[in-house]
Symmetry: C2
Subunit: 281 residues, 2 copies
Protein backbone atom coordinates (compact mmCIF):
# COMPACT_ATOMS: atom_id res chain seq x y z
CA UNK A 1 0.00 0.00 0.00
CA UNK A 2 1.29 3.44 -0.96
CA UNK A 3 0.59 6.78 0.76
CA UNK A 4 0.65 9.55 -1.85
CA UNK A 5 0.70 13.32 -1.38
CA UNK A 6 0.66 15.10 -4.74
CA UNK A 7 -1.61 14.99 -7.79
CA UNK A 8 1.36 13.76 -9.82
CA UNK A 9 2.15 10.89 -7.45
CA UNK A 10 -1.51 9.90 -7.52
CA UNK A 11 -1.69 9.99 -11.32
CA UNK A 12 1.46 7.93 -11.70
CA UNK A 13 0.26 5.34 -9.20
CA UNK A 14 -3.11 5.11 -10.94
CA UNK A 15 -1.43 4.72 -14.33
CA UNK A 16 0.22 1.51 -13.13
CA UNK A 17 -2.85 0.16 -11.29
CA UNK A 18 -5.40 -2.28 -12.73
CA UNK A 19 -8.99 -1.25 -13.48
CA UNK A 20 -11.67 -1.05 -12.31
CA UNK A 21 -10.82 1.44 -9.58
CA UNK A 22 -12.94 1.84 -6.44
CA UNK A 23 -12.74 5.12 -4.55
CA UNK A 24 -13.53 5.72 -0.88
CA UNK A 25 -13.35 9.46 -0.18
CA UNK A 26 -12.95 10.20 3.54
CA UNK A 27 -11.98 12.98 5.91
CA UNK A 28 -9.92 10.53 7.96
CA UNK A 29 -10.40 9.40 11.58
CA UNK A 30 -11.59 6.18 10.05
CA UNK A 31 -14.10 4.01 11.87
CA UNK A 32 -16.10 0.86 11.18
CA UNK A 33 -18.32 2.75 8.75
CA UNK A 34 -15.33 3.63 6.58
CA UNK A 35 -14.00 0.09 6.99
CA UNK A 36 -17.22 -1.27 5.51
CA UNK A 37 -16.85 1.07 2.52
CA UNK A 38 -13.25 0.00 1.93
CA UNK A 39 -14.25 -3.67 2.26
CA UNK A 40 -17.07 -3.20 -0.24
CA UNK A 41 -14.72 -1.48 -2.69
CA UNK A 42 -12.18 -4.29 -2.15
CA UNK A 43 -14.80 -6.89 -3.07
CA UNK A 44 -15.88 -5.09 -6.25
CA UNK A 45 -12.83 -3.42 -7.78
CA UNK A 46 -9.23 -4.26 -8.69
CA UNK A 47 -7.66 -1.14 -7.20
CA UNK A 48 -8.97 0.48 -4.03
CA UNK A 49 -8.10 4.14 -3.46
CA UNK A 50 -8.87 5.81 -0.13
CA UNK A 51 -8.55 9.59 0.05
CA UNK A 52 -7.99 11.29 3.39
CA UNK A 53 -8.67 14.99 3.19
CA UNK A 54 -10.38 17.25 5.72
CA UNK A 55 -11.97 19.56 3.17
CA UNK A 56 -12.05 23.13 4.49
CA UNK A 57 -14.64 24.17 1.89
CA UNK A 58 -17.38 22.02 3.36
CA UNK A 59 -17.13 23.40 6.89
CA UNK A 60 -19.56 26.23 7.50
CA UNK A 61 -18.28 26.47 11.10
CA UNK A 62 -14.51 27.23 11.47
CA UNK A 63 -14.39 25.79 15.00
CA UNK A 64 -15.83 22.52 13.66
CA UNK A 65 -12.98 22.43 11.12
CA UNK A 66 -10.36 23.22 13.76
CA UNK A 67 -11.45 20.47 16.08
CA UNK A 68 -12.20 17.85 13.41
CA UNK A 69 -10.23 14.80 14.64
CA UNK A 70 -7.14 13.69 12.70
CA UNK A 71 -4.79 10.75 13.05
CA UNK A 72 -3.15 9.69 9.84
CA UNK A 73 -1.13 6.83 11.33
CA UNK A 74 -4.32 5.27 12.67
CA UNK A 75 -6.09 5.81 9.32
CA UNK A 76 -3.23 4.28 7.34
CA UNK A 77 -3.30 1.19 9.57
CA UNK A 78 -7.03 0.76 9.00
CA UNK A 79 -6.64 1.12 5.23
CA UNK A 80 -3.86 -1.48 5.27
CA UNK A 81 -5.96 -3.86 7.34
CA UNK A 82 -8.86 -3.54 4.90
CA UNK A 83 -6.62 -4.13 1.89
CA UNK A 84 -6.63 -0.70 0.27
CA UNK A 85 -4.05 -0.26 -2.49
CA UNK A 86 -3.50 3.49 -2.52
CA UNK A 87 -4.04 6.27 -0.01
CA UNK A 88 -4.11 9.82 -1.23
CA UNK A 89 -3.58 12.17 1.74
CA UNK A 90 -2.82 15.49 0.09
CA UNK A 91 -2.11 18.90 1.58
CA UNK A 92 -4.79 21.52 0.85
CA UNK A 93 -2.75 23.05 -1.98
CA UNK A 94 -2.75 19.80 -3.96
CA UNK A 95 -6.55 19.65 -3.92
CA UNK A 96 -6.96 23.41 -4.37
CA UNK A 97 -3.85 24.72 -6.13
CA UNK A 98 -3.17 28.47 -6.04
CA UNK A 99 -5.77 30.24 -8.18
CA UNK A 100 -8.40 27.55 -7.70
CA UNK A 101 -11.71 29.36 -8.17
CA UNK A 102 -14.44 26.95 -9.28
CA UNK A 103 -17.57 25.95 -7.38
CA UNK A 104 -19.83 23.03 -8.21
CA UNK A 105 -23.32 23.56 -6.84
CA UNK A 106 -26.28 21.20 -6.84
CA UNK A 107 -29.76 22.68 -6.69
CA UNK A 108 -33.00 21.48 -5.11
CA UNK A 109 -31.76 18.26 -3.49
CA UNK A 110 -29.02 20.23 -1.69
CA UNK A 111 -31.32 22.95 -0.35
CA UNK A 112 -33.26 21.55 2.64
CA UNK A 113 -32.02 19.78 5.80
CA UNK A 114 -28.22 19.86 5.96
CA UNK A 115 -28.13 22.38 3.12
CA UNK A 116 -30.38 24.76 5.05
CA UNK A 117 -28.59 24.16 8.37
CA UNK A 118 -25.07 24.49 6.97
CA UNK A 119 -24.85 27.24 4.31
CA UNK A 120 -22.29 26.42 1.64
CA UNK A 121 -21.71 22.92 2.99
CA UNK A 122 -22.92 21.03 -0.09
CA UNK A 123 -21.15 23.40 -2.50
CA UNK A 124 -17.97 22.42 -0.67
CA UNK A 125 -18.86 18.73 -0.83
CA UNK A 126 -19.84 18.77 -4.52
CA UNK A 127 -16.74 20.75 -5.44
CA UNK A 128 -14.22 18.57 -3.62
CA UNK A 129 -15.84 15.36 -4.84
CA UNK A 130 -15.84 16.69 -8.43
CA UNK A 131 -12.10 17.31 -8.04
CA UNK A 132 -11.52 13.83 -6.57
CA UNK A 133 -13.63 12.20 -9.28
CA UNK A 134 -11.73 14.17 -11.93
CA UNK A 135 -8.35 13.15 -10.55
CA UNK A 136 -9.09 9.51 -9.82
CA UNK A 137 -11.59 8.58 -12.56
CA UNK A 138 -12.76 5.62 -10.51
CA UNK A 139 -15.38 3.29 -11.92
CA UNK A 140 -17.18 3.34 -8.57
CA UNK A 141 -17.13 5.50 -5.45
CA UNK A 142 -18.51 4.45 -2.08
CA UNK A 143 -20.37 6.62 0.42
CA UNK A 144 -22.26 5.89 3.62
CA UNK A 145 -26.04 6.27 3.83
CA UNK A 146 -25.76 8.03 7.21
CA UNK A 147 -25.08 11.10 5.08
CA UNK A 148 -28.07 10.35 2.88
CA UNK A 149 -28.47 13.84 1.45
CA UNK A 150 -24.75 14.04 0.70
CA UNK A 151 -25.00 10.77 -1.19
CA UNK A 152 -27.87 12.16 -3.25
CA UNK A 153 -26.08 15.46 -3.93
CA UNK A 154 -22.95 13.64 -5.11
CA UNK A 155 -24.94 11.24 -7.26
CA UNK A 156 -26.78 14.16 -8.89
CA UNK A 157 -23.51 15.99 -9.56
CA UNK A 158 -21.74 12.96 -11.00
CA UNK A 159 -24.63 12.12 -13.34
CA UNK A 160 -25.13 15.71 -14.44
CA UNK A 161 -21.47 16.32 -15.22
CA UNK A 162 -21.14 12.94 -16.99
CA UNK A 163 -18.21 12.10 -14.78
CA UNK A 164 -18.46 8.35 -15.33
CA UNK A 165 -18.01 7.32 -11.70
CA UNK A 166 -20.90 5.31 -10.29
CA UNK A 167 -21.92 6.52 -6.84
CA UNK A 168 -22.62 3.60 -4.49
CA UNK A 169 -24.51 4.09 -1.22
CA UNK A 170 -23.63 1.70 1.63
CA UNK A 171 -25.59 0.91 4.80
CA UNK A 172 -24.98 2.95 7.94
CA UNK A 173 -22.76 1.09 10.41
CA UNK A 174 -23.79 1.41 14.07
CA UNK A 175 -22.34 0.88 17.52
CA UNK A 176 -23.97 -2.01 19.42
CA UNK A 177 -26.26 0.51 21.15
CA UNK A 178 -27.43 1.89 17.81
CA UNK A 179 -25.40 5.10 17.58
CA UNK A 180 -24.38 5.66 13.97
CA UNK A 181 -20.61 5.58 13.46
CA UNK A 182 -19.24 9.09 12.98
CA UNK A 183 -15.81 10.66 13.33
CA UNK A 184 -17.49 13.33 15.44
CA UNK A 185 -18.56 10.80 18.09
CA UNK A 186 -15.09 11.15 19.59
CA UNK A 187 -16.05 14.64 20.79
CA UNK A 188 -18.91 13.37 22.96
CA UNK A 189 -18.38 13.46 26.72
CA UNK A 190 -19.12 10.24 28.60
CA UNK A 191 -22.57 11.54 29.50
CA UNK A 192 -23.30 12.69 25.95
CA UNK A 193 -22.08 9.38 24.57
CA UNK A 194 -24.42 7.54 26.92
CA UNK A 195 -27.30 9.74 25.78
CA UNK A 196 -26.55 9.75 22.04
CA UNK A 197 -28.25 6.43 21.14
CA UNK A 198 -31.52 8.32 21.60
CA UNK A 199 -31.08 9.47 17.99
CA UNK A 200 -31.42 5.99 16.60
CA UNK A 201 -34.07 4.98 19.16
CA UNK A 202 -36.19 7.98 18.19
CA UNK A 203 -35.86 7.21 14.48
CA UNK A 204 -36.72 3.56 15.06
CA UNK A 205 -39.77 4.60 17.07
CA UNK A 206 -40.87 6.70 14.11
CA UNK A 207 -40.17 3.90 11.69
CA UNK A 208 -42.08 1.43 13.86
CA UNK A 209 -45.11 3.73 13.91
CA UNK A 210 -44.88 4.01 10.13
CA UNK A 211 -44.59 0.21 9.84
CA UNK A 212 -47.69 -0.09 12.02
CA UNK A 213 -49.59 2.06 9.54
CA UNK A 214 -49.07 5.69 10.62
CA UNK A 215 -48.99 7.84 7.47
CA UNK A 216 -49.35 11.33 8.94
CA UNK A 217 -45.91 12.91 8.58
CA UNK A 218 -46.48 15.42 11.39
CA UNK A 219 -47.37 12.64 13.81
CA UNK A 220 -44.23 10.73 12.78
CA UNK A 221 -42.06 13.82 13.30
CA UNK A 222 -43.73 14.32 16.67
CA UNK A 223 -42.98 10.75 17.78
CA UNK A 224 -39.31 11.31 16.99
CA UNK A 225 -39.22 14.80 18.52
CA UNK A 226 -40.89 13.69 21.75
CA UNK A 227 -38.40 10.92 22.29
CA UNK A 228 -35.54 13.40 21.71
CA UNK A 229 -37.18 15.89 24.09
CA UNK A 230 -37.03 13.29 26.85
CA UNK A 231 -33.21 13.40 26.68
CA UNK A 232 -31.98 16.60 28.39
CA UNK A 233 -28.52 16.56 26.73
CA UNK A 234 -30.00 16.40 23.21
CA UNK A 235 -30.76 19.73 21.48
CA UNK A 236 -32.63 18.87 18.26
CA UNK A 237 -31.94 21.10 15.26
CA UNK A 238 -34.46 19.51 12.95
CA UNK A 239 -36.62 16.42 12.61
CA UNK A 240 -37.68 15.76 9.04
CA UNK A 241 -40.03 13.37 7.28
CA UNK A 242 -39.43 14.02 3.60
CA UNK A 243 -39.96 12.51 0.18
CA UNK A 244 -36.94 10.21 -0.17
CA UNK A 245 -36.53 11.23 -3.80
CA UNK A 246 -36.81 15.02 -3.52
CA UNK A 247 -36.21 15.59 0.24
CA UNK A 248 -39.25 17.90 0.26
CA UNK A 249 -41.22 17.63 3.54
CA UNK A 250 -44.30 15.43 3.35
CA UNK A 251 -47.77 15.83 4.85
CA UNK A 252 -48.78 12.26 4.08
CA UNK A 253 -46.28 9.42 3.76
CA UNK A 254 -47.72 8.02 0.56
CA UNK A 255 -44.33 7.28 -1.03
CA UNK A 256 -40.82 6.25 0.04
CA UNK A 257 -39.74 8.71 2.74
CA UNK A 258 -36.66 9.68 4.69
CA UNK A 259 -37.01 10.22 8.41
CA UNK A 260 -33.95 12.24 9.44
CA UNK A 261 -32.65 14.48 12.19
CA UNK A 262 -29.81 16.69 13.32
CA UNK A 263 -29.17 16.99 17.04
CA UNK A 264 -26.56 18.83 19.06
CA UNK A 265 -24.91 17.43 22.15
CA UNK A 266 -23.09 20.47 23.46
CA UNK A 267 -20.77 21.61 20.65
CA UNK A 268 -21.09 18.32 18.78
CA UNK A 269 -23.64 18.02 16.00
CA UNK A 270 -24.79 14.56 14.94
CA UNK A 271 -27.10 13.41 12.13
CA UNK A 272 -28.88 10.15 11.42
CA UNK A 273 -31.76 8.83 9.32
CA UNK A 274 -34.04 5.91 8.58
CA UNK A 275 -35.57 5.16 5.22
CA UNK A 276 -39.29 4.45 5.22
CA UNK A 277 -39.90 2.37 2.16
CA UNK A 278 -41.28 -0.98 1.07
CA UNK A 279 -38.12 -2.83 1.99
CA UNK A 280 -38.08 -1.71 5.65
CA UNK A 281 -40.13 -1.92 8.78
CA UNK B 1 -18.43 11.52 -40.76
CA UNK B 2 -21.27 10.66 -38.39
CA UNK B 3 -23.94 12.97 -36.97
CA UNK B 4 -24.93 11.74 -33.51
CA UNK B 5 -27.86 12.77 -31.32
CA UNK B 6 -27.78 10.92 -28.00
CA UNK B 7 -25.21 10.51 -25.24
CA UNK B 8 -25.20 6.77 -25.96
CA UNK B 9 -24.51 7.21 -29.67
CA UNK B 10 -21.70 9.60 -28.84
CA UNK B 11 -20.15 7.23 -26.30
CA UNK B 12 -20.30 4.28 -28.68
CA UNK B 13 -18.76 6.29 -31.50
CA UNK B 14 -15.98 7.52 -29.21
CA UNK B 15 -15.30 3.98 -28.01
CA UNK B 16 -14.39 2.93 -31.55
CA UNK B 17 -12.42 6.10 -32.38
CA UNK B 18 -8.65 6.51 -32.09
CA UNK B 19 -7.05 8.80 -29.50
CA UNK B 20 -6.16 11.55 -29.03
CA UNK B 21 -9.51 13.24 -29.43
CA UNK B 22 -9.84 16.93 -30.30
CA UNK B 23 -13.08 18.70 -29.39
CA UNK B 24 -14.51 21.83 -31.00
CA UNK B 25 -17.59 22.92 -29.02
CA UNK B 26 -19.83 25.24 -31.05
CA UNK B 27 -23.33 26.67 -31.08
CA UNK B 28 -23.55 26.07 -34.83
CA UNK B 29 -23.91 28.57 -37.68
CA UNK B 30 -20.30 27.80 -38.38
CA UNK B 31 -18.03 30.37 -39.98
CA UNK B 32 -14.36 30.72 -40.84
CA UNK B 33 -13.50 31.09 -37.15
CA UNK B 34 -14.96 27.67 -36.39
CA UNK B 35 -13.32 26.28 -39.53
CA UNK B 36 -9.94 27.34 -38.21
CA UNK B 37 -10.64 25.55 -34.91
CA UNK B 38 -11.66 22.35 -36.69
CA UNK B 39 -8.59 22.55 -38.94
CA UNK B 40 -6.33 23.03 -35.92
CA UNK B 41 -7.94 20.04 -34.17
CA UNK B 42 -7.58 18.03 -37.39
CA UNK B 43 -3.84 18.79 -37.50
CA UNK B 44 -3.26 17.81 -33.87
CA UNK B 45 -5.58 14.91 -33.00
CA UNK B 46 -6.65 11.55 -34.43
CA UNK B 47 -10.40 12.04 -33.91
CA UNK B 48 -12.08 15.42 -34.31
CA UNK B 49 -15.43 15.88 -32.58
CA UNK B 50 -17.53 18.99 -33.28
CA UNK B 51 -20.49 19.64 -31.01
CA UNK B 52 -23.38 21.79 -32.21
CA UNK B 53 -25.58 22.89 -29.35
CA UNK B 54 -27.23 26.24 -28.76
CA UNK B 55 -26.98 26.16 -24.99
CA UNK B 56 -30.03 27.80 -23.41
CA UNK B 57 -28.28 28.14 -20.04
CA UNK B 58 -25.76 30.67 -21.29
CA UNK B 59 -28.30 33.11 -22.72
CA UNK B 60 -29.23 35.82 -20.25
CA UNK B 61 -31.55 37.34 -22.87
CA UNK B 62 -34.38 35.03 -24.10
CA UNK B 63 -34.82 36.99 -27.33
CA UNK B 64 -31.11 36.50 -28.09
CA UNK B 65 -31.64 32.75 -27.69
CA UNK B 66 -34.76 32.77 -29.89
CA UNK B 67 -33.08 34.54 -32.73
CA UNK B 68 -29.72 32.79 -32.50
CA UNK B 69 -29.12 31.58 -36.08
CA UNK B 70 -29.31 27.86 -36.84
CA UNK B 71 -28.66 25.79 -39.94
CA UNK B 72 -27.54 22.26 -39.29
CA UNK B 73 -27.23 21.24 -42.94
CA UNK B 74 -24.83 24.11 -43.53
CA UNK B 75 -22.88 23.26 -40.36
CA UNK B 76 -22.59 19.59 -41.28
CA UNK B 77 -21.24 20.50 -44.71
CA UNK B 78 -18.58 22.73 -43.15
CA UNK B 79 -17.56 20.01 -40.67
CA UNK B 80 -17.27 17.53 -43.54
CA UNK B 81 -15.19 19.94 -45.60
CA UNK B 82 -12.81 20.48 -42.69
CA UNK B 83 -12.46 16.75 -42.07
CA UNK B 84 -14.27 16.36 -38.73
CA UNK B 85 -14.96 12.74 -37.74
CA UNK B 86 -17.95 13.07 -35.45
CA UNK B 87 -20.64 15.69 -34.98
CA UNK B 88 -22.68 15.65 -31.80
CA UNK B 89 -25.86 17.70 -32.34
CA UNK B 90 -28.02 16.71 -29.39
CA UNK B 91 -31.47 17.88 -28.35
CA UNK B 92 -31.54 19.84 -25.09
CA UNK B 93 -32.68 16.78 -23.10
CA UNK B 94 -29.54 14.83 -24.02
CA UNK B 95 -27.29 17.55 -22.62
CA UNK B 96 -29.58 18.30 -19.67
CA UNK B 97 -31.60 15.15 -18.93
CA UNK B 98 -34.72 15.47 -16.76
CA UNK B 99 -33.65 16.26 -13.21
CA UNK B 100 -30.42 17.94 -14.24
CA UNK B 101 -29.64 20.37 -11.42
CA UNK B 102 -25.92 21.12 -11.23
CA UNK B 103 -24.19 24.44 -11.84
CA UNK B 104 -20.48 24.93 -12.35
CA UNK B 105 -19.44 28.47 -11.46
CA UNK B 106 -16.05 30.12 -11.86
CA UNK B 107 -15.21 33.03 -9.57
CA UNK B 108 -13.14 36.18 -10.09
CA UNK B 109 -12.17 35.73 -13.73
CA UNK B 110 -15.86 35.34 -14.66
CA UNK B 111 -17.05 38.44 -12.79
CA UNK B 112 -16.14 41.54 -14.83
CA UNK B 113 -16.82 42.39 -18.49
CA UNK B 114 -19.10 39.77 -20.06
CA UNK B 115 -19.84 38.31 -16.62
CA UNK B 116 -21.05 41.68 -15.37
CA UNK B 117 -22.95 42.49 -18.57
CA UNK B 118 -24.63 39.08 -18.87
CA UNK B 119 -25.67 37.71 -15.46
CA UNK B 120 -25.47 33.93 -15.34
CA UNK B 121 -23.81 33.71 -18.74
CA UNK B 122 -20.54 32.16 -17.58
CA UNK B 123 -22.28 29.76 -15.19
CA UNK B 124 -24.11 28.48 -18.26
CA UNK B 125 -20.89 28.28 -20.24
CA UNK B 126 -18.88 26.55 -17.50
CA UNK B 127 -21.70 24.09 -16.85
CA UNK B 128 -22.29 23.05 -20.45
CA UNK B 129 -18.56 22.78 -21.16
CA UNK B 130 -18.10 20.66 -18.02
CA UNK B 131 -20.81 18.33 -19.34
CA UNK B 132 -19.24 18.21 -22.82
CA UNK B 133 -15.78 17.60 -21.35
CA UNK B 134 -17.21 14.85 -19.14
CA UNK B 135 -18.95 13.15 -22.03
CA UNK B 136 -16.19 13.44 -24.62
CA UNK B 137 -13.02 13.24 -22.51
CA UNK B 138 -11.04 14.86 -25.29
CA UNK B 139 -7.32 15.33 -24.91
CA UNK B 140 -7.66 18.87 -26.26
CA UNK B 141 -10.49 21.33 -26.82
CA UNK B 142 -10.29 24.36 -29.08
CA UNK B 143 -11.81 27.80 -28.48
CA UNK B 144 -11.48 31.15 -30.24
CA UNK B 145 -9.69 34.08 -28.62
CA UNK B 146 -12.46 36.47 -29.70
CA UNK B 147 -14.22 35.19 -26.57
CA UNK B 148 -11.10 35.72 -24.49
CA UNK B 149 -12.82 35.77 -21.12
CA UNK B 150 -14.78 32.61 -21.99
CA UNK B 151 -11.52 30.89 -22.87
CA UNK B 152 -10.08 31.88 -19.49
CA UNK B 153 -13.20 30.77 -17.60
CA UNK B 154 -13.19 27.38 -19.30
CA UNK B 155 -9.47 26.90 -18.75
CA UNK B 156 -9.88 27.73 -15.05
CA UNK B 157 -12.79 25.29 -14.71
CA UNK B 158 -11.04 22.46 -16.53
CA UNK B 159 -7.85 22.82 -14.47
CA UNK B 160 -9.71 23.16 -11.18
CA UNK B 161 -11.92 20.11 -11.74
CA UNK B 162 -8.97 18.03 -12.99
CA UNK B 163 -10.91 17.24 -16.13
CA UNK B 164 -7.85 16.28 -18.16
CA UNK B 165 -8.82 18.17 -21.32
CA UNK B 166 -6.29 20.80 -22.38
CA UNK B 167 -7.96 24.07 -23.35
CA UNK B 168 -6.38 25.55 -26.48
CA UNK B 169 -6.98 29.19 -27.47
CA UNK B 170 -6.88 29.96 -31.21
CA UNK B 171 -6.46 33.34 -32.95
CA UNK B 172 -9.53 35.37 -33.83
CA UNK B 173 -10.43 35.06 -37.51
CA UNK B 174 -11.54 38.29 -39.21
CA UNK B 175 -13.34 39.43 -42.31
CA UNK B 176 -11.10 41.29 -44.79
CA UNK B 177 -12.32 44.59 -43.29
CA UNK B 178 -11.31 43.50 -39.78
CA UNK B 179 -14.69 42.52 -38.34
CA UNK B 180 -14.24 39.48 -36.08
CA UNK B 181 -16.11 36.42 -37.32
CA UNK B 182 -19.24 35.81 -35.22
CA UNK B 183 -22.44 33.90 -35.79
CA UNK B 184 -24.26 37.05 -34.69
CA UNK B 185 -22.88 39.08 -37.62
CA UNK B 186 -25.70 37.64 -39.73
CA UNK B 187 -28.14 39.81 -37.79
CA UNK B 188 -26.48 43.06 -38.84
CA UNK B 189 -28.33 45.21 -41.36
CA UNK B 190 -26.34 46.34 -44.38
CA UNK B 191 -25.68 49.68 -42.72
CA UNK B 192 -24.69 48.08 -39.42
CA UNK B 193 -22.44 45.62 -41.23
CA UNK B 194 -20.73 48.51 -43.00
CA UNK B 195 -20.22 50.28 -39.66
CA UNK B 196 -19.15 47.23 -37.60
CA UNK B 197 -15.44 47.20 -38.56
CA UNK B 198 -15.13 50.25 -36.31
CA UNK B 199 -14.76 47.74 -33.41
CA UNK B 200 -11.50 46.37 -34.72
CA UNK B 201 -10.31 49.78 -35.95
CA UNK B 202 -10.89 51.25 -32.50
CA UNK B 203 -9.04 48.41 -30.79
CA UNK B 204 -6.15 48.67 -33.24
CA UNK B 205 -5.97 52.41 -32.59
CA UNK B 206 -5.68 51.66 -28.90
CA UNK B 207 -3.10 48.98 -29.51
CA UNK B 208 -1.10 51.31 -31.75
CA UNK B 209 -1.07 53.98 -29.05
CA UNK B 210 0.11 51.37 -26.56
CA UNK B 211 2.80 50.20 -29.01
CA UNK B 212 3.90 53.82 -29.36
CA UNK B 213 4.42 53.97 -25.60
CA UNK B 214 1.08 55.05 -24.11
CA UNK B 215 0.73 53.33 -20.72
CA UNK B 216 -2.16 55.27 -19.16
CA UNK B 217 -5.10 52.87 -19.27
CA UNK B 218 -7.70 55.64 -19.17
CA UNK B 219 -6.17 57.32 -22.18
CA UNK B 220 -6.15 54.00 -24.05
CA UNK B 221 -9.81 53.41 -23.18
CA UNK B 222 -10.58 56.95 -24.33
CA UNK B 223 -8.86 56.44 -27.69
CA UNK B 224 -11.05 53.38 -28.29
CA UNK B 225 -14.22 55.02 -26.98
CA UNK B 226 -13.75 58.15 -29.08
CA UNK B 227 -13.38 56.16 -32.26
CA UNK B 228 -16.56 54.22 -31.40
CA UNK B 229 -18.38 57.48 -30.59
CA UNK B 230 -17.68 58.68 -34.11
CA UNK B 231 -19.87 55.85 -35.47
CA UNK B 232 -23.55 56.75 -34.91
CA UNK B 233 -24.81 53.14 -35.26
CA UNK B 234 -22.46 51.83 -32.55
CA UNK B 235 -23.73 51.88 -28.97
CA UNK B 236 -20.78 50.93 -26.75
CA UNK B 237 -21.58 48.86 -23.65
CA UNK B 238 -18.09 48.83 -22.23
CA UNK B 239 -14.50 49.57 -23.21
CA UNK B 240 -11.99 47.82 -20.95
CA UNK B 241 -8.26 47.88 -20.49
CA UNK B 242 -7.60 45.11 -17.97
CA UNK B 243 -4.85 42.92 -16.61
CA UNK B 244 -4.76 40.05 -19.12
CA UNK B 245 -4.29 37.54 -16.32
CA UNK B 246 -6.97 38.70 -13.86
CA UNK B 247 -9.21 40.88 -16.10
CA UNK B 248 -9.16 43.54 -13.37
CA UNK B 249 -9.17 47.07 -14.84
CA UNK B 250 -5.74 48.73 -14.94
CA UNK B 251 -4.67 52.29 -14.25
CA UNK B 252 -1.21 51.82 -15.72
CA UNK B 253 -0.45 49.22 -18.39
CA UNK B 254 2.65 47.85 -16.72
CA UNK B 255 1.89 44.22 -17.55
CA UNK B 256 0.20 42.19 -20.33
CA UNK B 257 -3.26 43.70 -20.83
CA UNK B 258 -6.47 42.98 -22.66
CA UNK B 259 -8.14 45.80 -24.50
CA UNK B 260 -11.74 44.70 -25.02
CA UNK B 261 -15.19 46.02 -25.82
CA UNK B 262 -18.85 45.16 -26.19
CA UNK B 263 -20.90 47.24 -28.60
CA UNK B 264 -24.51 47.08 -29.70
CA UNK B 265 -25.67 47.66 -33.24
CA UNK B 266 -29.41 47.83 -32.78
CA UNK B 267 -30.41 44.52 -31.15
CA UNK B 268 -27.12 42.83 -32.04
CA UNK B 269 -24.36 42.77 -29.45
CA UNK B 270 -20.79 42.20 -30.62
CA UNK B 271 -17.54 41.79 -28.69
CA UNK B 272 -13.91 41.93 -29.69
CA UNK B 273 -10.49 42.36 -28.10
CA UNK B 274 -6.79 42.91 -28.65
CA UNK B 275 -4.06 41.63 -26.41
CA UNK B 276 -1.41 44.16 -25.41
CA UNK B 277 1.64 42.13 -24.60
CA UNK B 278 5.27 41.75 -25.53
CA UNK B 279 4.51 39.67 -28.60
CA UNK B 280 2.26 42.28 -30.22
CA UNK B 281 2.33 45.83 -31.52
Amino acid sequence: MEVLRTRDELRQALDRSPRPVGLVPTMGWLHAGHRSLIARARSETATVVVTIFVNPRQFDDPSDLDRYPRSEAHDVAICAAEGADLIWAPPVTEVYPPGFDTTVAVGAIASPLEGAARPGHFDGVATVVAVLFGLIRAERAYFGCKDFQQLRVIDRMARDLAIGTEVVGCPTVREPDGLAMSSRNVHLSAGERAAAPVLHRALVAGRDAWAAGERDADRLRRIVAEMLAAEPLAEPEYVSCADARTLVELEVVDRPALLSLAVRFGPTRLIDNELLDGSEG
